[in-house]
Structures are given as C-alpha cells and as structure tokens.
C-alpha cells in the first residue's frame, strides 16, 4: 500500500494537490450554488470542509465525485483534468464519497456489496466461495473485523461506513470524502473511526472531511476550508485558526459561544414530567427522570445507552415493559402517541427523515399535522388558519424560504428540522421532548433551534433534551447521564464537558 501520490509527483517539486478546484461555479436555475469556489487538498492530509447548510458543500461534493458538472471553472486531480462525467470507472478509481445515507444494498451480503457488478469476470459464472474470500482478504487488509457473509443491513452504522471506505479503496481511490460521517455514531465509535482515518492517512490516503462538529475538526484535521453563501471564505491550517474565528468565518457574524444560554433556573415546583422505574425491553431499566416547569433537562448517553428508549416511551412511540410515566400528574395511555400529545406533550423524534415529516406535503401541513383540532371549524379544516399558524412558526424559527406552501422535501436539512420543531411546538406543549434536535444542522440553525427550546422553558414548559451533543447540553439546567440502559449520573449547575463525556462513555462518574 504505497502512497499513490508518489506516482504523480512532478519532477523535483512538490507533488501536485490531490484535488484542485479553481473558480468553480454552479447554478441551479436562478440560484448560484457555488460562486467561483476554490479548494486545494494536498496529498496525505485530512482536510476539513465546513460551512452552514446551503453554503455549497454538497454541490462541491457532487462536482468532485463526478455527479454533476461545473458550469464554469476547472477541477484537477493530482494535476490531471477531471475525467468526463460519463466515465464512472475513472471517477471511482480517483475519488470516493461516504455519504450520510448509506449507499449499500441492505439485502445483499457484505461480500457482494464490496463487489457489486464485479462479482466475477464478465461472462463467467459467479463463484461465491471465491467472492467471499476476495471480500475477506480485502477487509483483512484494512483490518476490518466484519463477517462477509452477513447481510449488509445487519451492520452497524460504523461497520457500514468502514465497508464503504474499504470498497472505495479496493477500486483504487486514494482520496475519500467523508460527508458527516459521525452524525449517527456514538462517541466510542467516533474515536474508532478517527483512529482508522488516521491509520489510512499514514498509508497515504487523503481525506476531505465534512462535519458540523467543530471539535471533531480540531481533533482530526490539519487544514480547514470554510465556505459561506456559495463562496470560498478561507483556507488555513487548523492550528492557525482559533475556534471563534472559524465560527465567524462560517456564519459571517459573531455567535456568542461562551455565554450561558440557559434561561434562569426555575423555582422548585411539582414536576411536569415524572418518570419512575421505567423499563423498556432490554433497552433501559429502572430509569427515573423528573422535569419541572421551566426546566431544561438533558438526557445524555451514547447511542446504545437506552436514552432513546426512555424518550420513545415517554412520547408513546414505544410501549414500556414496566414503570410509570406521569405528565402533569396523569398517566397517558402507554404506547399511544395521540394520548401523549393530548396530555400536553410535544416532541421532535429521533430520525427526522423517517419520523419527522411527510416530504411531499407542504410545510404548513407538516407543522400543523398534530393539531388538526386547532384548524377545525365544524369538522372542516381552515386553510387560512393553517397558513397563519405556519407563518407564526416560520417567523419564530426563521425557516427559509418562508413559504408555508413549500413541500418540506425541498428544504435544506436545518430547515426541515425547524419544521419538525415547529410541529412539536404547534400546540404550546407543557412538556417538550427533543431527540437529537440538532443532528446534522449548521451552527446557526442549531442555535435557533435550541434558543426556541429555551424560550419554551422561559414560558413555563418543561424541556427534555435527549442528545449527546455537548452544544445541546449546554442549554440544560441538569443533565441525566445514561450508560447501557441505566442512569449512571447527574450533573447540575456547571460542569466540565470532559466529566460529562466520561460519564457517557461509562469511564467514571464524578
């Protein structure tokens, strides 16, 4: 596994950049998605690309992976011009992208996924034994411990990403784009991903790393490029760009990172939410949580900690095996979302694409989906009322574009999440349950979403934030930490992020 960059090195000089995009412009209709954008990635580095939703990152990725052609400008790989769009084979041997969404075929085995459309030489029957041994060899070469016979759908997100990386390496690509790879990983898996990425880097693989999590970038990357509003803003070595400046480059304005975003702590009162001895299958056992009016409580933990089982049981998406959930002193029927909503609860579900919205329906319909009773007069829905409610929510959450009739599928990720938040808030809930409310959204949208939650708390609602994102948890008065299905600690007042992370990892509880 020698560095492929050596082959292309020019005589007596620096090797050419593995990717060089010069003055790349791309328009979609009236909108400019990329405006004379630049990117230079040197061989062997881990290069971060950051920017808010809509900054042009995804468009750049499409162009760099040969899915779309730039309207103007040039892209070169290792000093050679990009191959034509139709030559998929050439593209695949140069660059690969691991997307947020899986590009693996779930019903096929891992082995077959590694060699889709290349199971055997053309015209020859497939030898499954040989295919499996080829696959096993490939995975072993990259030190991946995955059984090649299992169906791809049985892989964890982490294993799936590794298989995708191995697949692209097997096709010869030595430049890999990771698009939000950590969005669905827990902290331990993120660490493993990072050490693999570093190991591959040592073997000469170059990475372009796209993420909303700034601390990941500081941890992993050597160079960072910031895009904003379709333009290249800055490229600099990570070490020379302080965190605050990076945020300013991304947002174009000062985002207060240091001040305490929490509303004042509420006075002691009867809890709005009282969970006692909650057990949900094997996922969690004997969990107690309280949320008082005006209080923001974090429920933190790794993906496997059982925090989502607790949250889903509270909102009625899952039926608890035992224990009680009281909302304002009353117990809504178990496993019944409609009853939970009636009891005064609003929530943002864990997976916005799956449970959050109906993509083909308008923003207005999605926002008001859980509150038809607020639109009805004599059993007839008022379109006018619906639009009004939607417009209020759009204003409150700064949804772009501010058009209630827009189908949600056409919005950017951050704005889709705002729609889901708006739906949760539509009935002025007494208790707001937010599951990973800011996953995959940009810094600015993150702040808007969490500020909105804080406003709800100021108005006397209780808020439960189910997340392991430290930026989300900064809004909490208290954080309850779960590990492997049980509550292992609680933090209140002020705490160190390291303590919190350690507790989530099950390392120590202070």
């Amino acid at each position: 596994m020698t560095s492929s960059t050596e082959q292309h090195s020019t005589v007596g000089g620096h090797p050419p950049p593995i990717v060089e995009a010069v003055k790349v412009t791309k328009r979609f209709g009236a909108t400019t998605a990329l405006d004379s954008a630049e990117l230079t990635v040197e061989p062997g580095e881990i290069h971060a690309l950051v920017g808010r939703n809509g900054a042009g990152k995804s468009t750049l990725v499409s162009i760099l992976t040969g899915l779309e052609e730039a309207d103007a400008g040039a892209v070169a790989f290792s000093g050679r011009p990009a191959p034509p769009l139709s030559d998929r084979h050439a593209w695949r041997s140069i660059v690969a992208c691991v997307y947020q969404k899986s590009t693996i075929i779930p019903e096929l085995s891992v082995a077959e996924n590694l060699f889709v459309n290349d199971q055997a030489d053309a015209g020859r029957p497939i030898s499954w034994r040989r295919l499996r041994s080829r696959a096993a060899e490939l995975l072993a070469a990259w030190e991946l411990d995955v059984d090649v016979r299992v169906k791809a759908k049985e892989l964890t997100v982490e294993q799936r990403q590794m298989v995708e990386i191995a697949r692209s390496l097997s096709r010869g690509a030595r430049f890999i784009i990771l698009d939000e790879p950590t969005a669905r990983l827990d902290a331990a898996a993120i660490n493993r991903l990072f050490s693999r990425v570093r190991a591959l880097q040592e073997q000469g693989v170059t990475f372009l790393y796209i993420s909303h999590h700034l601390q990941e970038i500081f941890e992993l990357c050597q160079t960072v490029t910031v895009y904003r509003d379709a333009r290249h803003i800055v490229t600099a070595p990570i070490a020379e760009l302080p965190r605050a400046e990076l945020v300013i480059a991304m947002t174009g304005e000062q985002v207060s990172e240091t001040s305490d975003p929490r509303p004042p702590a509420p006075p002691p009162a009867e809890p709005i939410l009282s969970v006692r001895g909650l057990t949900v299958g094997d996922a969690c056992r004997d969990v107690d949580v309280d949320v008082r009016p005006g209080e923001i409580v974090g429920l933190a933990g790794a993906v496997s900690s059982g925090k989502f089982a607790v949250a889903n049981a509270i909102v009625g998406l899952q039926r608890p095996s035992s224990g009680t959930v009281l909302v304002e002193g009353r117990a809504p029927r178990r496993g019944d979302v409609a009853k939970a909503l009636l009891a005064g609860l609003g929530f943002v579900p864990q997976d916005r694409h799956r449970e959050g919205f109906v993509g083909g329906m308008s923003m207005a319909e999605n926002i008001t989906m859980a509150v038809p009773h607020r639109l009805e007069r004599h059993g007839v829905l008022s379109t006018k009322r619906r639009t009004e409610l939607a417009q209020q929510a759009i204003q409150r959450l700064d949804i772009v574009p501010p058009r209630p009739e827009q189908p949600v599928a056409a919005l950017s990720g951050g704005n889709q999440q705002k729609v889901v938040m708006a739906r949760a808030l539509a009935d002025e809930p007494r208790l707001l349950v937010l599951m990973t409310p800011t996953a995959g959204v940009d810094v600015k949208a993150k702040q808007t979403l969490m500020d909105t939650a804080a406003d709800a708390a100021r108005n006397g609602s209780g808020v439960l934030v189910v997340s392991d994102d430290l930026d989300d948890l900064r809004y909490c008065h208290r954080v309850v930490v779960m590990f492997r299905g049980a509550v292992v600690g609680e933090f209140s007042g002020t705490w160190q992020d390291q303590q919190l992370v350690a507790a989530m990892e099950g390392i120590e509880v202070s």
Binding site: F28, G29, A30, T31, A33, N53, G54, K57, S58, T59, S62, T65, L67, E68, R88, C97, K101, T103, I104, I105, V116, N117, V315, L317, V337, A338, A340, L341, L342, F347, P349, D351, R354, E355, G356, F357, V358, G360, M361, E365, N366, M369, A370, P372, H373, E376, G379, V380, L381, T383, P401, R403, E405, Q406, P407, A409, A410, L411, S412, G413
Partner: protein, 343 residues
C-alpha cells in the same frame, strides 16, 4: 451502477426549489388538471366528426355506463393515497350484489335461497363490502401481510365464492331495492350519475378539508411521521379499506341494478382499468399523492375515448388493444411533458 446517483444534493434541491416555488405549486395543481385539455380536445373532435356525439343522450349514457367503474376508482384512489392497494375490489364488486341476490331471490327461478325479503338487498350488499374491507384490514394491518399479496388472494377467493354460490351461472330477474339505484331517475338524470357525482363531491371535500382526509396523505406519504404526529395510522388504513369495500359494493349494486342481473364473472379483470384510470389521473402508486378530481378525469378520459371509438365504428375486437395503447400513450406523454416519475 453508480450507487451514489441516488444521493440527494441538498444544495441543489434547495436552490432549485427556491427558484421555482410558484412553479412547483402550479405543477402540483396541474397534476389535478393535466387531463382536462385532452378531455376537452376529444369532446371537440368527437363533436366535429359525429354530430350525434354532442348530445345529452351520449353523455348521459357515457356517465351512467362508467358509474360503477368510477366508484371503484374512488375506492382504489383512497387506498392508494393511503399507501396500500386493493386488487380484490374487482371481486367485491361482483360478490356483494351476488350474495344479496342469492339471499333474496326466489328458490325456483335461479338457485336463490329466498331467505330474506328483497328490501334487504342493498344493506346486505353493503355489509358484504364492508366485511371484505375489514378482512383485508385484518390481514394487512394486524398480520402485517403485504397488501398486494393479501388482496390478490382475496381476489381469487372472493371470485371463487361467487362462482360457488351462483354455480357459475347468472343471477337474473333481480327484484326490490337492488334494482333501484341502477334504474331510477332523479331530477331527469339516472340515479347512478347522481351517486357518482355525490360520492366524488364528498370524497374531494373530505380529502381536502378534513383531518381524516389529510391523514390519508400523511399516512401514505410517511407512515412513521404520521404516527409520530399522533395519527392512528392502523385505524386510518383499516377504515380506508372498509370504505373501499363499501364503495365497491355500491358500485356492484348500481351495475347489477342496471343490468338486472349478476353474472358470476362480474367485474372480473376490471381492476386493471381501475388502476389505469387512477394512475393516469395522477394518483401515485407510492402513496401520498393525487386527488379524486384527477382520478375522475382519468376514468372519464378512458371512457370518453371508448365512446368516440364506438362512434367511429371500430370493431369490438380491437378495444382491448386500443384501451391499453391509450393508457401507455398517456403515461408516456405525462412523463415527457410533466416529468412525473412515480408511475
């Protein structure tokens, strides 16, 4: 091939949609009215070529003949919008009036049981339709069996029941209430036309303006999101399947009343016309999309073309070919003109 092709480029969709917002709404509306120009064109052509075409008698005949298929199209459209499908409607349309006839007809004439007075024919037929919908609901919602295969099994089973009770023959000489809807005249028009107009009007209103109606779109568009919004998704699917059965039974009552008989193969093979009409009318097979007005234009278009062909003296033997060809041409045309991708 290139697995990455399916990955959405967020920026692209965003900017494209932002630029053509009004256009996208216009297209959504257009989807409903897409066939209207074609329908008008065919009426004009028919009227120019054949003076006898543009008469009230022609259209009255056209509408009353297509009444039962139109009701089945309503039923199928509701089910498709909810993200399911029901093939068994074509058997329900025969079995429901068949059982009513079987129970009410006198013994001597044709294998009737004469168990129940003729007055009960309509309630019995409707009850049979609702029961079939409930069974489909049980299998699809409770046992979580795929709707296609469940209703295919039901299609065959129900047809078999009708063949069994009728001994493969025709129930004729229908009496009492079963004749009424297929033969009565209200305010100068056949009752069957009124029934279709009323059902479509109710359906269009309910789908657009009531929470139950909107919940069909939510369930068909994204089941999990609908559930997370507090919509009782299982109940919605179940109710829609029962309504589908009821509408198919109503269609059967009208058609059997018109013909004064129930053949053992009544409705057989017609589910394909029903699907075709719904789909060219803009109902998505993937659920969550389309309107009953669009579905109505679909069924109207297909029947209108038949009418013109009849006027043109095209031999019956070619009708199936032309029927299929028209469906394909419309679908291809829509793909080229509107870029509709979900058929």
């Amino acid at each position: 091939m290139t697995d990455a092709l399916t990955v959405p480029t967020q920026d692209a969709t965003r900017s494209a949609s932002a630029g053509s917002r009004t256009a996208s709404i216009a297209i959504a509306r257009m989807r409903d009215f897409a066939l209207v120009p074609l329908i008008i064109a065919i009426i004009i052509v028919g009227s120019v070529l054949y003076p006898a075409f543009a008469t009230r008698a022609t259209f009255q005949d056209l509408l009353s003949n297509m009444a039962w298929i139109a009701l089945m199209v309503v039923a199928e459209s509701l089910i498709l919008i909810t993200g399911k499908m029901d093939l068994s409607l074509e058997s329900t349309v025969g079995l429901a009036p068949g059982i009513a006839a079987w129970l009410t007809l006198p013994k001597g004439i044709n294998h009737g049981l004469h168990a129940i007075p003729g007055f009960w024919a309509i309630p019995i037929a409707l009850a049979v339709g609702a029961a079939i919908g409930a069974i489909n609901g049980f299998l699809i919602v409770r046992l979580r069996i795929n709707a296609f295969i469940v209703t295919l099994g039901m299609l065959i089973t129900l047809r078999g029941v009708l063949t069994g009770i009728s001994k493969g023959q025709t129930f004729f000489g229908l009496t009492g209430s079963q004749m009424y809807l297929g033969s009565a005249t209200w305010l100068g028009f056949p009752a069957s036309i009124w029934v279709v107009v009323i059902i479509f009007a109710i359906g269009i209103f309910v789908l657009a303006k009531t929470r139950v109606g909107r919940s069909l779109y939510a369930v068909g568009g994204n089941l999990d999101a609908a559930r997370a919004s507090g919509i009782r998704t299982d109940r919605v699917v179940w109710v829609v399947l029962i309504i589908g059965g009821l509408l198919a039974a109503l269609a059967g009552i009208i058609e059997s009343g018109t013909l004064a008989s129930v053949t053992s193969n009544m409705g057989s093979g017609r589910i394909f016309d029903v699907f075709a009409a719904a789909v060219i009318g803009g109902i998505s097979l993937n659920g969550g999309k389309g309107s009953l007005f669009g579905a109505f234009t679909g069924v109207l278009l297909l029947n209108l073309i038949f009418k013109v062909l009849t006027f043109a003296g095209v031999p019956d033997q070619w009708f199936d070919f032309l029927n299929g060809a028209v469906i394909l041409v419309v679908l291809i045309g829509q793909r080229i003109v509107g870029g509709r991708t979900d058929q």
